[in-house]
Subunit: 299 residues, 4 copies
Amino acid sequence: MGGLLYHEVIRRGLSRLIEVRRVVYSGRTRFQRVDIVDTEVFGRMLFLDGISQLSTLDEHIYHESLVHPALLTHPEPRRVLIIGGGDGGALEEVLKHRVVEEVVMVDIDEQLISLTRRYLWEVNRGAFDDPRVQLIFRDGREYIDECSENFDAVILDLTDPLGPSRRLYTLEAYRGIRDIIGDEGIMVTHAESPYIYQREFLTIHRTLSEVYRIVRPYGAWIPSLGPYWMFITASNVHDPKAISPGEIERRLRERGIETKYYTSELHGAIFTLPKNIMEALKRGDAGLSTDERPLERLL
Amino acid sequence: MGGLLYHEVIRRGLSRLIEVRRVVYSGRTRFQRVDIVDTEVFGRMLFLDGISQLSTLDEHIYHESLVHPALLTHPEPRRVLIIGGGDGGALEEVLKHRVVEEVVMVDIDEQLISLTRRYLWEVNRGAFDDPRVQLIFRDGREYIDECSENFDAVILDLTDPLGPSRRLYTLEAYRGIRDIIGDEGIMVTHAESPYIYQREFLTIHRTLSEVYRIVRPYGAWIPSLGPYWMFITASNVHDPKAISPGEIERRLRERGIETKYYTSELHGAIFTLPKNIMEALKRGDAGLSTDERPLERLL
Amino acid sequence: MGGLLYHEVIRRGLSRLIEVRRVVYSGRTRFQRVDIVDTEVFGRMLFLDGISQLSTLDEHIYHESLVHPALLTHPEPRRVLIIGGGDGGALEEVLKHRVVEEVVMVDIDEQLISLTRRYLWEVNRGAFDDPRVQLIFRDGREYIDECSENFDAVILDLTDPLGPSRRLYTLEAYRGIRDIIGDEGIMVTHAESPYIYQREFLTIHRTLSEVYRIVRPYGAWIPSLGPYWMFITASNVHDPKAISPGEIERRLRERGIETKYYTSELHGAIFTLPKNIMEALKRGDAGLSTDERPLERLL
Amino acid sequence: MGGLLYHEVIRRGLSRLIEVRRVVYSGRTRFQRVDIVDTEVFGRMLFLDGISQLSTLDEHIYHESLVHPALLTHPEPRRVLIIGGGDGGALEEVLKHRVVEEVVMVDIDEQLISLTRRYLWEVNRGAFDDPRVQLIFRDGREYIDECSENFDAVILDLTDPLGPSRRLYTLEAYRGIRDIIGDEGIMVTHAESPYIYQREFLTIHRTLSEVYRIVRPYGAWIPSLGPYWMFITASNVHDPKAISPGEIERRLRERGIETKYYTSELHGAIFTLPKNIMEALKRGDAGLSTDERPLERLL
């Protein structure tokens, strides 16, 4: 009954208590508070500034959902850019695609990556040491604004739109990414929760829709995160809904990808949304997130 | 910060704190503790014995998911039996099907239904007064065991397998229902959560599989319940996966059904499960729930 | 385990969870949020703006400690003024003193008093109906500022120094009271907690010391309030420490007072404080609470 | 808001949430779960099996209250036995008495003492290294039962009566201690909380009263423990109430004792109890704690 708990505020009026077996690490980097704890229910968990980021028990659901739909929709993603993703889980999934020749990962927080390499090895499993990886410790938005290279795919694996990461959820950021991927590329971002943070989800969707022709939301339930979670792919040519499960299956095999959660059949199902979410998207009354007025998750 | 909270234990090591604006009703019936509270986040919520049953904000997700896939899979469900469902939400969805001529609803707790009629009108909206409805206050399992009538569909809308309701999650109960629906009928039950209560979900699935040829799990996320939630249809002839969205659409129109969450496209998607759940189902190492050793949700 | 709780923040970093059996009343008056709840541990409790005020189980400890030391120190308190005290508990204790001929009670919140008369009868037991009582619904500070009458004793039974009640914890308020009681009178206030809210306690003490020659802190532990609680008497002539237990005993009998907690021996003991509190008082480095910069309890 | 908390159940229906800055140590010894955490409010705290034992902010209140009243009541305590007290705080206070020539400390948990020496140095400050100290790692009750030595004073500094420590709260244990101290000695024990654990307090008091002629309860509020806390001295000849503050003051000086909380005046005050506690003690309807039916704190 008594003992150590992690208290996570989901939003004003709703929170969770998670029993903690052991505090593996708890401290501050230059950029954020980092808590890595072993829990009764979800295995090892990572919290940044008090908000759950992943658990060893179900991080594959999150990372497979974030990475594979977009990367498999692209016929030949050779160069991939990851913004954020300091735990290395997205990186690990990207590297599973044999076709990928180079991954640039830009994370602002070098200390965080030292911590996740040490304490969350189960999540990144040596991914940081893959010769195809180039790690850059820098503000993601700055990198995007100054980037003159091209990438086939950009993956936004960010903390929620609170504080500095907000500048990676804006029209200007999405335009910068479009310049990087061109018309032939694809991007993906996680996109908050469809009911609990509906305003945030709709704002991200609308802002992407200003920049890209094909914007496809889909979701997954990751137990340790609490609410259901959304993702959105955006591209000017690539439509994940338009690719048959057969083609997805072929690419999975060709690229040598083993998954625990994602399948080609699931790819065919996840882009079908419930009526209430589709109608909320259609209403189109969400705000636009801009550098001047960036989206901020309300607490 | 301070004030009234509802504390709900999800399972050992995990709980939720939900801010309460107003306690609408709190007391005990002959069978269970009933709390009806207005919350900050989910509107009005119903708790039975401390476990969340529904909220006015999202009960349609639960009830549409419980009722429509099974009833639309059946070509002509004229007589429907609901066991449990004291809030009337499932009843309301069943009655939307014009083809339904008679609904028998068996709930053990008459006082609960008085309370839900009074305080959760938004959920049942006069459904109890529909002339097609016959309300029987009796133990659901007893009713099944002694029933000599036939029904086209049986809907199990139960409290979780804790206490007396456990006897409605057993092999013997499912056999009794099969006798009631015969080879031509279909049944559906909610089936706990695929990760958080995985043992419970797999046990229900395996037990149904002993009795029925076609057993189809599917899921939905209902925000106020916390974890993702599963449902399972079971039948000897009717396969919800085998019906095309077009046919579902036709039946929706023919029966005059308006929904907020469910669509024919969604019907085509929800039966596709992630790999980890499919593999857990295939392992087939779940226990069997019997009257002698009924499934009990661990706390 | 699960169920209704009252969450009370004691201060930043420390809070309590109190199991609630029944919410008796919960709403807002013009001035404050009022929650009256039946708890597992403390009987019926009153919370104002989320802060515990009393419980039926131990309110006598609070009210006897607030009223009797000051009133028994005064040789003949015939006219008594209570500021605040909307639950009527202090009033009941004052009326026990036969010598008291008139009590004026000034509380800003008429609705609160209707609620406490109805739901906390056990606390006030008809005290409001005593013919010696005059009830005035008005801001306490305004009353003090405009009062041209004299009283033998003034009892401050206020909410904590948060929001409007802060103006009753200032130098100006204490001076106004001194004008009302003159050199022959005595006042008493509750004074926060000696460790948990030490700054607040020391500030009240220092501010009173600017106005009165004899300032005597003493304490009591009231289980339902959580932390230990302080009170302070202030007067220019009456010193509760200087009166022998024998004289207190004589006055108790003469005035016909029955108590549950307070005794003449206890009177002789409570003014002896631990060394650490005495030293904190002697350091004299506490701030002064003035109308311009009133004391405010930090959260 | 979010983050690490320590949840302590005070009793069924009442608990505390304490914000944790850092987990210094968390693990199990052979005998108990040990959590040492740095908190926002109370400095460093020690929890055994989820129950708060002390904080660096106020341990002096507890340890001075436990040790000095009994030891100063004895005219010449040269040999002192401490049972429990694994944090070394009571030991430190005992050693302040110059007159003490030898202290035997018996604690069952050697690992706990290693931990408190390392992480709670602020509490024991080298006390374990004093040449007058003999440390024995053994079950306290066994030691008492087999002890053939004499001591002038015995100090019980135990965990609450839950689990194995219950055998140190029984008639048989108190008789064994009387055999050790003889008619000339004195013992003291902490004695739970007068309201929150009233049954427990009264049972300890009654059980001691079966063995000793002079049994004197007194209390102190130690903020980090939550509820007000009681202690009881027991002896056949020494009465702490019968010694004048002047004599206590003389002994304090003679023995060279510096305190932060306790004073000779306080000694004169603390044995005066409120009426409700005195009456509860007089009712004499508490149970007797025996080896066969030992007191157990209810949760």
